[in-house]
């Protein structure tokens, strides 16, 4: 029923009219992302359009999770949700636009990382995550391509489609979260009452990836993922991780010895490895928290974090360059 009295509708329309979609920049399973403009400010934004029509249960859970959490989180290292509006049967999330992400930078082998670069990226990631955790929100999908990088070098955590609150007992959570390579061992063993440790484990994997420039623990299946983890960090025992053998999906693995991290991370300093190791502790209760990690000597020791403006940037191929390249390819063929 549309009427003069419909204030919510009017507000929604006002918001809708302030944004223009310019071009499609990505497409996911449930959403399409556009580059857009806020007309009143000429600000460039990202608009994530979620097609509600295709979900039989109305507004879908990922959209709800993302909107619910981002509305409450305001932090320089968390992507900002500027507005939300409905249009037709689509839900549109207006997010601040960031140029690239950490995955692009890692893959761009023309860029050399300095230890100070890695330190600043880690610092920003941990600050953003600490803010989430202080608000009792787990991200549950930390990985390099969810860490966006702005023009000015600023890093922001994005994609809260799997996020949920934690801290209440008796609220079992699904273990089917986090992209496999970054998934904590307790999730792989089926623990349902996990906490902040799963995000920290993922950050540990990202930290390692920044140092190696390759994924640290790439498993092909859940079982193989555990095997990959244990090969790298040693098979955990009840002594390392009290209660591990009573987890639902616990299976006995062959015994791998623990190899010191410095054998693989040859260029990293002692404080770097100590922090990395404390993020990859098997027992989730002993794993370092975001807050503790921020206070780790690694962040106080030299080298200092590279200033934002000097951090490596991923140079996106301009459409013209891409066209030339295509032409060259055709000629070559």
């Amino acid at each position: 029923m549309a009427s003069l009295r419909n204030h919510a509708e009017q507000h929604n329309n006002q918001v809708y009219k302030d944004y223009k979609k310019d071009r499609k920049v990505g497409e996911g399973a449930y959403a399409v992302v556009y580059l857009g403009t806020q007309l009143s400010t000429k600000k460039v934004v990202a608009i994530k359009k979620i097609k509600i029509g295709q979900f039989k249960d109305g507004l879908d859970m990922s959209a709800i999770r993302e909107v619910k959490t981002l509305q409450e989180l305001r932090h320089p290292n968390v992507v900002e949700l500027m507005e939300v509006y409905f249009h037709k049967t689509n839900l549109n999330l207006v997010l601040e636009f960031l140029e690239s992400d950490l995955e692009m930078i890692i893959k761009d082998k023309s860029i050399v990382f300095m230890p100070g670069d890695v330190k600043h990226w880690m610092l920003m990631t941990l600050r953003g995550l600490d803010h989430c955790h202080r608000n009792w929100i787990l991200h549950r999908d930390m990985k390099p391509n969810n860490l966006l990088l702005g023009k000015n070098g600023q890093l922001k955590i994005a994609d809260f489609g799997l996020a949920r609150d934690f801290g209440d007992r008796n609220r079992p959570s699904t273990t089917q979260v986090v992209t496999r390579w970054y998934r904590a061992p307790e999730l792989l063993f089926g623990a349902k009452d996990y906490g902040y440790g799963i995000d920290i484990w993922a950050i540990g994997c990202i930290f390692a990836e920044l140092l190696l420039r390759n994924p640290y623990l790439p498993g092909d299946s859940d079982m193989q993922q555990l095997d990959t983890i244990f090969k790298a960090l040693g098979t955990p025992t009840e002594a390392d991780w009290p209660g591990v053998s009573s987890l639902v999906h616990y299976v006995q693995f062959r015994h791998y010895p623990k190899t010191p991290l410095r054998l693989l991370f040859t260029a990293a300093g002692a404080d770097t490895l100590e922090l990395l190791e404390s993020m990859l502790i098997y027992d989730p209760n002993r794993r370092i928290s975001a807050r503790e990690a921020l206070l780790h000597p690694y962040f106080f020791n030299k080298p200092r974090p590279t200033p934002l403006e000097n951090l490596p940037k991923h140079v996106r191929e301009t459409p013209e360059a891409a066209k030339l390249k295509r032409k060259a390819d055709t000629l070559g063929a």
Binding site: A2, L4, H11, V32, R304
Partner: protein, 374 residues
């Protein structure tokens, strides 16, 4: 639409839920963390790491920023909506001479009935109290912007229940939801968009349950008998259940309501509240004064509402039936052809629409661009 009321709620920092529950997060010295940022040499990073207190954390919540009102602001909003809808119905020429319109107090009484239905049904489904509390908060927020003449509270109740199950991680498929409640699925889904818009997409609602648990833990530090304290806690939880039917959630912070409920429960269970108050809030003269001047009056006001607000009790069935019949008559009158023709209509999203399908439109544009370049 919504303007946060000016500072009706003073004290918060000592009583915010997280302060009492979490030790790890709140014990870290702010300066330490600031120290981290100084190593980054850039001004930006410094700003990023400004330590925020638990109080500030709560003040960043959408509940604090957008859904906090004074009683008079609430009354104004509701009266204005009610006046508007009555005026528009009167524009029609078919309103009976002596027709008695539904007033704001009656609307609230009717809503109280449906609030209690939510609690009943969710209890039956064995859902935690906060899920009911969220659904009730959604319904209350919805009717600050929409009138019952346009949207019957029963329909709104169903959609708020369905939505709250999702936002609180208890999704139930729509066919199960609708078959158990014997209510068709489509109307429930149809209202979901409008409910979300009316909520301004603010799905998080903080309730007094969690801070109450925090206080319960905290009070154990000075408890003579944990068994007695346990009883006080349980009593306080039922008082919080009652508070959901009042406006307290708009007026005060969850931690303040929780503390007032515990204070009342102490009285009823003849348990010494002052001992805890002295330990927690009156350790020295200045905190003592602050407690007496700011927190104490707030607790008093909450206590008063919990004892005197008529909405703490179930309404009279016959009276509610009468209200409901008159409300349905109002809706009928509002939708009668003679009335509708006189009312200005605003169509959702207007008709200037050019992006029915964004992809298609953009693809078309991209194609034109390519054509030009070839």
């Amino acid at each position: 639409m919504i303007t946060a009321s000016e500072n009706t709620n003073g004290i918060a920092s000592e009583t915010t839920p997280t302060t009492t529950i979490s030790t790890t997060a709140s014990t870290v010295d702010a300066n330490d963390v600031n120290g981290t940022s100084q190593t980054t040499t850039t001004g930006n990073a410094n700003e990023a790491m400004k330590e925020i207190t638990m109080k500030q954390l709560y003040e960043q919540s959408t509940q604090y920023k957008y859904w906090r009102f004074t009683q008079s602001a609430l009354d104004d909003m509701r009266n204005k909506l009610n006046d508007e809808v009555i005026a528009s119905i009167k524009e029609g020429d078919n309103v009976p001479e002596d027709f008695e319109f539904v007033n704001v107090a009656e609307e609230l009484a009717l809503m109280g009935y449906y609030e209690r239905r939510i609690v009943q049904i969710f209890k039956h489904w064995k859902l935690p109290s906060y899920v009911s509390a969220t659904a009730i908060a959604y319904m209350k927020r919805f009717f600050l912007e929409n009138t019952m003449v346009d949207y019957h509270p029963k329909d709104v109740m169903l959609t708020c229940m369905f939505l709250a199950r999702k936002t609180e991680n208890y999704l139930l498929a729509i066919e199960d939801f609708s078959s158990v409640l014997k209510s068709p699925a489509q109307p429930i889904l149809n209202l979901e968009f409008l409910v979300c818009k009316s909520l301004r997409f603010h799905f998080t609602v903080h309730h007094p349950y969690r801070p109450c648990l925090g206080f319960f833990y905290d009070m154990q530090a000075v408890a003579d008998s944990i068994e007695k304290l346990q009883k006080v806690y349980e009593k306080a939880l039922t008082l919080i259940d009652t508070s959901l039917h009042t406006d307290l959630g708009f007026l005060y912070q969850p931690s303040q309501i929780a503390l007032a409920a515990l204070k009342m429960a102490c009285k009823e269970e003849s348990y010494d509240f002052e001992k805890y108050a002295n330990y927690k809030f009156k350790s020295n003269e200045s905190t003592s004064q602050k407690y007496n001047e700011t927190l104490f009056p707030i607790l008093k006001a909450i206590e008063k509402a919990l004892t005197e607000d008529p909405r703490c009790h179930e309404g009279d069935k016959l009276a509610l039936k009468d209200i409901d019949q008159r409300l349905k008559k109002c809706t009928e009158l509002a939708n009668s052809p003679s009335n509708l023709s006189k009312r200005k209509r605003i169509e959702p999203n207007g008709d200037d629409d050019d992006d029915d399908d964004d992809d298609e439109r953009l693809d078309k544009r991209a194609k034109t661009d390519n054509d030009n370049s070839e």
